[in-house]
Amino acid sequence: MRDLTVQLDDSLFNAANFYAVQHSTSINRIIQAHLAQLVSVKQPETDPLVCFSRGEMDRLEAMKALNIDYSTLLDKLGQRGLSRPSLPHNELEQMADMFVRVINEAPER
């Protein structure tokens, strides 16, 4: 990883910084993403929100990386239009089947 110093107008820096805060990212990540797109280089995903959404980072890791609580993490996922992590379809089906069976077979108190 190389360090790079970039000079920006104050107004551009302020606007970019505002955008970054609003979208739970950083100017560094925005520049990396745009440069990678420009030169068609695939970057490993480092955005904690995206990693959490893809199931590559667990909840506590994402909360720690972004220094936010779980409620705010869910808010930011929604604001970015990112999916909530979910179990694979077959595992969800098995779990839902088990749940329905337990409820249907349970005796009354």
């Binding site: 909840r59 808010d75 999916s83 329905v100």
Partner: protein
Amino acid sequence: MKRVALVIPDAGPLISLGKAQSLEILLKLDLPIYIVDQVYFEVTREPSFEDAKIIRQFAQSYPDRVNIVETQVGNLARMEREINPSAPQRQLGEAAITDFLSNQLDKIVEPLDPVLLLFEDSDLTRMNVVLRQNVHLLSTKALLIGMERLGVIASEAAIWEAIIASGRTPSDEIVDQSAPATYGGSYWQ
């Protein structure tokens, strides 16, 4: 009421269902609901937060159905807060869950009665635990799917979407495409 215990040892489902204004759907299952004390404290400790208000109101509105179960970890944490209100108490929720499963579960259910442990989907993707035969892990999403199959809610998708939508800004600006579903695998017995 059915002889099945719904135990919520995780803040995630409370926060998610609270955000969707859907905690009351849990009452439709006609089961006793148990929330681990330290988890309840963690999700309600900021009284000005909307989620905290909703969850507290839910627990207080249905005291005959929603039980806050005491754990040794929760009691110790409470005593520590009384001595030092600013004491950092990170990760105690997880310790309380372990305490509850190891030492308290038998006090609230008969040995063979089924127990459903409700966790957030994101946590179950990496959870690797061994549980007794009558104790079952259940994710928030699987709970909703099952409730739709049981006919107690009209649409799991509507509630799932409400959870997601609760986090959107009024402008609903979308800057990323939806990510694919998680395929990290999970393991339970």
